[in-house]
Every structure is written in structure tokens, then in C-alpha cells.
């Protein structure tokens, strides 16, 4: 069997194996899950603001991120987050919880390969591209802004 034929057959096989829930249903689930996570974040921010009215908005935002990230990592460790992610799809990985989950799940997954090259290197398998791109864009924005503000 030649290579192209085999590849085409494999694609058909993948197509048959992948779950067939209607796209409208998964859109709805992503909407619900994403909205719920964001509302949870807003709730934390409201609670913080009621306890510390003088706290500035950036610090409140950072705290919301920290709480959501920590909760996600613990849920990932207990295996609960996988269930949520299967239900919510993009609704769970587009909020910051997806970033935290990708680091934590890769760290747990590759623990058997050792702490240095297993956990240390491969925990960034998904989060690495996000961090690399993010830092690069942020530097670019900063430099452009600095140069523009000189004139």
C-alpha cells in the first residue's frame, strides 16, 4: 500500500473515531463553562474589593488570576479538571485555567522521566509557546512604545 493511500485511510479512521456531538452543543457548553469560570473570577474580585476597598485594580486582577490558577492546579492534581475539560472544551482552556492546567498536567505526566528533564523541561510543552510568544510580543510593544514616545 503506498503512503498517500495509507494516510488517507488513516484520516478517514480518525474522522470515524472522533466524537460526534453536534457543533452547536459543544459551542453551548464552551459558552456555559467559559462564562461560569469568568463569573467565579468576578466573584473573587468582588469579595476582595469588599474586604480591601483601597486595593488597586491591577492587584485585584493579579489576585483573581492567582486564585483561579491555584484552584485549577489542585483540581488537575485530583483528576477533576479532566472531567471539566472534557465537558467544556475551549471554555476551560481559553481562560487562564487552561494555562495552569497545561503546566500542571504536563508536570504530573512527565514526572516518571525525572525531575530535571522530565518535570523541569516538559512542563512547558504547551505553556512554553504561550510564554515565549507572550514575552516576545510584550518586549516588542514596549520597545515600539519607547521609541514612539521619544519623538
Amino acid at each position: 500500500m503506498n503512503k498517500n493511500q495509507r494516510n488517507a485511510d488513516y484520516l478517514i479512521y480518525v474522522e470515524n473515531q472522533s466524537p460526534k456531538s453536534g457543533w452547536f452543543v459543544s459551542l453551548f457548553r464552551a459558552f456555559i463553562m467559559g462564562g461560569t469560570i469568568c463569573c467565579f473570577g468576578q466573584m473573587i474580585s468582588d469579595v476582595l474589593k469588599s474586604f480591601y476597598p483601597t486595593m488597586n485594580l491591577l492587584t485585584v486582577g493579579a489576585w483573581v488570576n492567582i486564585v483561579v490558577i491555584s484552584l485549577t492546579i489542585f483540581l488537575t492534581a485530583f483528576g477533576v479538571f479532566d472531567v471539566l475539560a472534557k465537558y467544556g472544551g475551549a471554555g476551560t482552556f481559553i481562560p487562564i485555567s487552561g494555562f495552569a492546567n497545561s503546566i500542571a498536567s504536563c508536570a504530573i505526566e512527565y514526572k516518571k522521566e525525572g525531575l530535571v528533564f522530565g518535570v523541569g523541561a516538559k512542563m512547558f510543552y504547551v505553556a512554553g509557546p504561550v510564554l515565549v510568544n507572550g514575552v516576545a510580543y510584550s518586549m516588542l510593544v514596549g520597545i515600539i512604545y519607547f521609541v514612539v514616545s521619544l519623538f
Binding site: W23, L27, N65, T76, A90, I96, I103, N133, Y137, G142
Partner: protein, 124 residues
């Protein structure tokens, strides 16, 4: 109380719509989740660079800051703030400075947690 409820509706709506757009890209094209994350981050950095995402954050709060677009936005905003207050040095480091707490917690806590937890997905 009513204004509070309205705020939560806005948060739910904006967060939900952003996630639905990502889900739609995921279903209709062959783009992988990691690429969608990078794409949304880039959109966030561009919107933050032009100070446009700020309006959405004011309107919808956590609905705009929690999705990865908000992460890109705070990276860009941090760099701009650094450039205004700390010159060239601030422009280079400002983005990471604004997001450092979140990144540190994700890395540090993941490292700690993985010491006490083992993979649960391999059940055959």
C-alpha cells in the same frame, strides 16, 4: 443589587462569547488548542498595545481579564507602563513584571503538586 447582577451577566456573556469563538475555530478548522492559545494571546497583545481591550475590561471585568486575551493585554500594558515610568529598561521588563505573580504561581505550585500526585489518565 440589580447593577451587580447586570455586571455578572456581562461577565458571563463576554467570557462565554470569547470561549465560543475559540471552540468554533477548534471545530471548524484543524488548528490545535495550543495554536489557538498563541493566536488569542497575540490578539490580546495587539489590542492591549493600542489600549483597546481596556474598554472591554471596564465593561465586563473578569470576563475580559481571565481569558488568555486578558493575559496578552496585561503583558502589553505592563510593557507600556514600564516604558513610561522606567524608560528602556522598563520597556524590556514591564510585561513580565505585570504578569509575574500568575506565572510564578503556575510554575511553582505545579512543581510542588507533581511531587505528590501521579498520572491518573492511564487506566486501561
Amino acid at each position: 443589587m440589580v447593577s451587580n447582577l447586570l455586571m455578572y451577566l456581562k461577565v458571563f456573556f463576554v467570557g462565554g462569547v470569547i470561549c465560543s469563538i475559540a471552540e468554533l475555530i477548534l471545530i471548524k478548522t484543524k488548528i490545535t488548542p495550543a495554536r489557538i492559545l498563541v493566536l488569542f494571546l497575540m490578539i490580546g497583545a495587539v489590542l492591549g498595545g493600542f489600549n483597546l481591550w481596556n474598554y472591554v475590561v471596564e465593561w465586563a471585568g473578569a470576563g475580559a481579564t481571565l481569558p488568555i486575551i486578558g493575559f496578552g493585554n496585561s503583558l502589553a500594558k505592563g510593557a507600556i507602563e514600564g516604558a513610561t515610568s522606567g524608560g528602556f529598561f522598563g520597556a524590556l521588563g514591564g510585561g513580565l513584571m505585570a504578569t509575574s505573580a500568575g506565572i510564578s504561581v503556575s510554575i511553582g505550585l505545579s512543581y510542588l503538586v507533581c511531587l505528590f500526585s501521579s498520572s491518573k489518565t492511564k487506566k486501561f
